[in-house]
Symmetry: C2
Subunit: 212 residues, 2 copies
């Protein structure tokens, strides 16, 4: 069953690493893998791997480890990657446009079925076969489709107001790619994915290397 267990967020974020590693192992013909192997390959402590995997419903035998194929299936299902989760994207600017181009999202279960922008000249066009509509038509399309996941790529000065509006019309999850943090009620799921914040960390660590 998908996602029925409450895992700590860091654990959930590690599971896709194990999944990727299991896929590689299967490619190489390794029909069983142990948590120790996974741990060594990706540089995470093996007790952490074992504990993370204990949360999900996969039977592993001591010493022998997990059946690789089963582990892949169980992880993919648990992580929700095998199901299609329809979503709307808001803000077809640089980053929004780039995300529409990324078919990888679909491979991980996210199906952006429509994008919205306030620019009238964008309405009626499409990127990577995903139709772009004017924001004014959003509520109607939402009623027809029942989509409850929003990908937020609007300019920062619109992020909070768009988020507020989306919550008002009953979106349940917001994947926030804007570099500003949005405030939402407790019952709304938010993931803040500011890739630019990672850049800042990288620059900082690089600068320190140079100063060493």
């Amino acid at each position: 069953m998908e996602n029925s267990v409450h895992l700590p967020e860091p654990a959930i974020r590690r599971l896709p690493w194990y999944l990727s590693y299991a896929k590689l192992a299967l490619e190489k013909g390794e029909t069983t893998i142990s948590s120790t192997q996974i741990a060594f390959a990706i540089g995470v402590d093996s007790s952490v791997v074992a504990k993370d995997l204990s949360y999900i419903d996969v039977a592993g035998k001591t010493r022998v480890g997990y059946n690789t194929f089963t582990l892949i299936e169980v992880l993919e299902t648990f992580l929700g990657f095998t199901k299609s989760h329809p979503a709307f994207l808001f803000g077809v600017g640089r980053l929004g446009g780039a995300l529409l181009q990324d078919n990888g999202l679909r491979q991980f279960g996210l199906e952006i079925i429509a994008a919205f922008d306030v620019k009238y000249e964008l309405a009626g066009t499409n990127i990577n076969h995903i139709p772009i509509h004017h924001f004014d038509n959003m509520c109607e399309l939402r009623r027809k489709t029942g989509v409850d996941i929003a990908v937020l790529t609007v300019p920062i000065n619109r992020a909070q107001e768009v988020a507020d509006f989306l919550i008002e019309v009953n979106f349940k999850a917001i994947w926030n790619f804007t570099p500003i943090r949005i405030k939402v009620p407790d019952h709304i799921v938010v993931q803040n994915t500011s890739i630019y914040a990672h850049l800042a960390v990288m620059y900082n660590r690089l600068e320190q290397l140079k100063n060493e």
Copy 2:
């Protein structure tokens, strides 16, 4: 001076939020802002904001707060966003192609000056005016340009070997967008940005909402 202080990673990741908020405040004509204001607006504890800002060299007056314009300047410089950091991108697939389209990276100081792939048919083409070369020509171009930041968007079964090679030829930082964790020596800066792991967290939390 840029990045001369060793901040904990979570603190560095929060600073871009404060920067975005300060930019919004300036747009609205607010010439001073306090850490309390920032804290309230983005939903972070105000003692955290004050502590984070204490690391960087910005003079704030009690009660009055910071000069908004100065705060923006100091944060942008500290975070390395005002400087151009040249980088190479490896793997012009779905995600790699999407990142090449995202001019937002340049706004945050990352200048991808060339992209590389092993597909011969891609060599000589470009995306968004960024030239794509065959991987074989990389070392020569690296010697000419001195680039030491790599953006990694290769398939997962190539991630570790490409990373190993990049380190061998003296790259100092790897921004890893692949969903697999790569192992690197301590002196190499790595940021793992698997946007798909965030999807897994979002699905999990959504599923739990439905089960409540």
